[in-house]
Amino acid sequence: MEAATHAEAAHGHAHGHDDHAHHPSGLMRWVTTTNHKDIGTLYLLFSLTMFFIGGLLAFGIRAELFQPGLQYWEPEFFNQLTTMHGLIMVFGAIMPAFVGFANWQIPMMIGAPDMAFARMNNWSFWLLPPAAILLVSSFFVPGGAPAGGWTIYAPLSTQMGPGMDLGIFALHIMGASSIMGSINIVTTILNMRAPGMTLMKMPLFVWTWLITAYLLIAVMPVLAGAITMILTDRHFGTNFFNAAGGGDPVMFQHIFWFFGHPEVYIMILPAFGIVSQVIPAFARKPLFGYASMVYATSSIAILSFIVWAHHMFTTGMPAAGQLFFMFATMLIAVPTGVKVFNWIATMWKGSMTFETPMLFACGFLFVFSMGGFTGLVCAITPIDIQIQDTYYVVAHFHYVLVAGSLFAIFSGTYFWLPKWTGHMYSETLGKAHFWLSLVFFNVTFFPMHFLGLAGMPRRIPDYALQFADFNMIASIGALGFGLSQLLFVAAIIKCARGGEKAPAKPWEGADTLEWTLPSPAPYHSFETPPVIK
């Protein structure tokens, strides 16, 4: 997977003259840009902003739960906080962050000059800010923001005020953006690879995104259908989910989770991809089991379509249904395990160093796997019936989404920042960010396992006294975790503004194509395609 040297040479002089020649400057550069790197940056900054807005809401939740009693919010507003926190983090922070990575990295990693549909790329991004504004502005309409949980179960969601409609429109727009982004990614990967780069020579990050993009195209329309039916139930007299009119409230859950379970893999597969780039680079050793990684990712994606009702074990489905969904869900643990084993085998007998990207990747392995184990516990139907809709599930999905997806996003950011900015980030800031995040993450979320087992339901603004101690610990951890993220912003700003010049390939063991380009990467990546041996 090495680029022929003449490609590098071609770059050296191609960029001298036309690097900044073809685009407007100032604000209009960003509004009109069709450049994959600019758009990637926009996605990442958007995601960072939403991450902080979502974090603020989370802090509102944890403040209320610091002690028993209603301290700050009315219960209704508390429900708005949990709902909006979930929606913003899923649709505003995690998903766009990965699309940002895809935009920056996929063309560079497959030796392409840009994304396949450059104008559509601009449109995919610029749909997001209006959607986010719609979503956040729902706080200010009568009745407030959606308050039915991020899962917007009917018929509760048909009861809400106009904030729910704003939320639905926002999701529609974000869904359209995701679909366009995915079409672009699929087309780019399938058509624009450098000569010689067969599918089985693609870097794993590209593979995971190819599969993720297919998942997105398959399930975003399903979500759109579900929320449209809610919309017509709310305003146009239909009764899709209204039992009194002959509708079926459980059907909403089936449709939602048919989207929702693949969605959780949409949020983790690109993370697997990032970690699969980072670990070999810092172990100075090729990825172990490349082919089995590709097969494992594909089988996870396929299985993700037949496990959705594991979110619905308590709705009272027949025993045959419970058994089927339990077995199918347990099966997912096999390819997930294979991935973890492969990563550890990659580290085995390597020559490892632990710069920040590698720290986050190791943190990911450790802590994400705990989320995998609790996932397995949730998959066992009888146990799940006890812990469904409790804090145990809250712990489970934060272990996979924060310590999984988010840590991978951090890892990837530090890994590629030198390529993006041309400067090395501050290792001191990065390491402090890692250790504080790791510690406070566990202080926040580990006690939630105990809370859930002991019987604390999720989505409640006040709780019985036996839950007080662990809630207090979790709230303190949350404050610490939130503040630690300021270090991340500091590290990024510092790196963007200056610092030690980054060489083309700052990481000794990195071997993908982007490292053959100078740092910062030139505006147009590969005008002459490199040739892969």
Binding site: P249, K285, F288, V334, M352, T381, I383, L453, Q466
Partner: protein
């Protein structure tokens, strides 16, 4: 069977493990009080321990590698990148472990689903935001709401915090608990009136979503007299955190006394509130559709329309009227009426259709 496996594991591992496993209050599932809850508890212990063992093995390896295979200690990277045998082994072995977990889990699922031959059937209905209980064959019905005073919940003074801390069963107490006899199989029929709720008592291992328009069932048999507390487990709107469930389990004799008392109360209430008879209910509620035959409803007194329906038998008609059928909403929409009165209205309608 399951518990044998779990005990086997426990015997080997417990001395080495922390209170988290031993079941110290607040760290683990609540002390189980039914067979099902016991099985769930043991199943969780078993799977937890297996996961711990895998975790130690896998991350022990990783930690070893992190310590030994680093550049700073001069380790040189080897360049191997596949090993078919190893890869097959670590696909097959987890698969076998999973089968080991699935077998006991399957048995518990089948046991949980067996609601046949109950000794007592109670219907729980979720409302925003309280529970309604109907003892179906005893004719006893009541609502059960949070008993913790709202002022105490909202008291923001330091004094409030102290008072809450001293308030036993804060947020887990109700005005009218469900009362059940010990040692008897209780079948819970669970439904809802408005949005989805969930009826959950952790110590019984019972959690069942309460879904409007749907009737689901579950069961438990508790052997120790006592008070068992749970909460609504499905987000149901703003007071979701404030609709607890309290079950009081009594010896059968005490239960019989309680039941007699309740029957008297229910009868007295019905007299006092001028309970409607069949015609009264029809004139107030059913008339909306059954007079003109709205949405396919059989018209009052229309013998042709009623004949095939009457043939199904009175019980079926009751069920349809109580739980809804096609366009017929449950209880004709008058969900606050006791079942007995709806049945009376069905009798009245069917007499006219004969």
């Amino acid at each position: 069977m399951i518990s044998k496996w779990a005990r086997y594991f426990l015997a080997a591992l417990i001395p080495a493990l922390t209170p988290a496993v031993a079941g110290a209050e607040g760290y683990n599932l609540q002390a189980p009080q039914t067979i099902i809850a016991h099985e769930i508890y043991d199943l969780h212990t078993l799977i937890f321990l297996i996961c711990c063992a895998i975790f130690v093995a896998v991350f022990g390896t990783m930690t070893y590698s992190i310590i030994k295979h680093r550049k700073s200690v001069g380790h040189k990277a080897e360049q191997f990148h596949e090993n078919t045998l190893v890869e097959i082994i670590w696909t097959i072995v987890p698969f076998i472990i999973l089968i080991g977990m699935a077998i006991p889990a399957t048995k518990t699922i089948l046991a949980m689903k067996d609601t046949s031959n109950p000794d007592l059937t109670i219907k729980a209905t979720g409302y925003q935001w309280k529970w309604g209980y109907d003892y179906l064959h005893e004719g006893v019905s009541f609502y059960s709401s949070l008993a913790t005073p709202r002022d105490l919940v909202e008291d923001k003074t330091p004094d409030g915090a102290r008072k809450r801390a001293e308030h036993a069963n804060y947020l887990l107490e109700v005005d009218h608990p469900v009362v059940v006899p010990i040692g008897k199989k209780i079948r819970m029929i669970v439904t809802a009136n408005d949005v989805i709720h969930a009826w959950w008592v952790p110590a019984f291992g019972v959690k069942q979503d309460a879904i409007p328009g749907f009737v689901r069932d579950t069961w438990f048999r508790v052997d120790k007299p006592g008070t068992y507390r749970g909460q609504c487990a499905e987000l149901c709107g703003k007071e979701h955190g404030f609709m607890p469930i309290v079950v009081e389990a009594l010896e059968p004799e005490k239960f019989a006394l309680w039941l007699a008392e309740q029957k008297k109360l229910t009868a007295a209430n019905a007299m006092a509130s001028g309970s409607l008879d069949g015609k009264g209910v029809y004139d107030k509620i059913c008339v909306a559709c059954h007079a003109a035959g709205v949405a396919g409803a059989p018209k009052f007194g229309d013998k042709a329309a009623w004949a095939p329906r009457l043939k199904q038998g009175q019980e079926v008609l009751y069920t349809h009227a109580l739980h809804g059928f096609k366009a017929m909403p449950l209880k004709g929409g008058a969900t606050d009426l006791p079942d007995e009165q709806i049945k009376a209205a069905v009798d009245y309608l069917s007499a006219a259709g004969k």
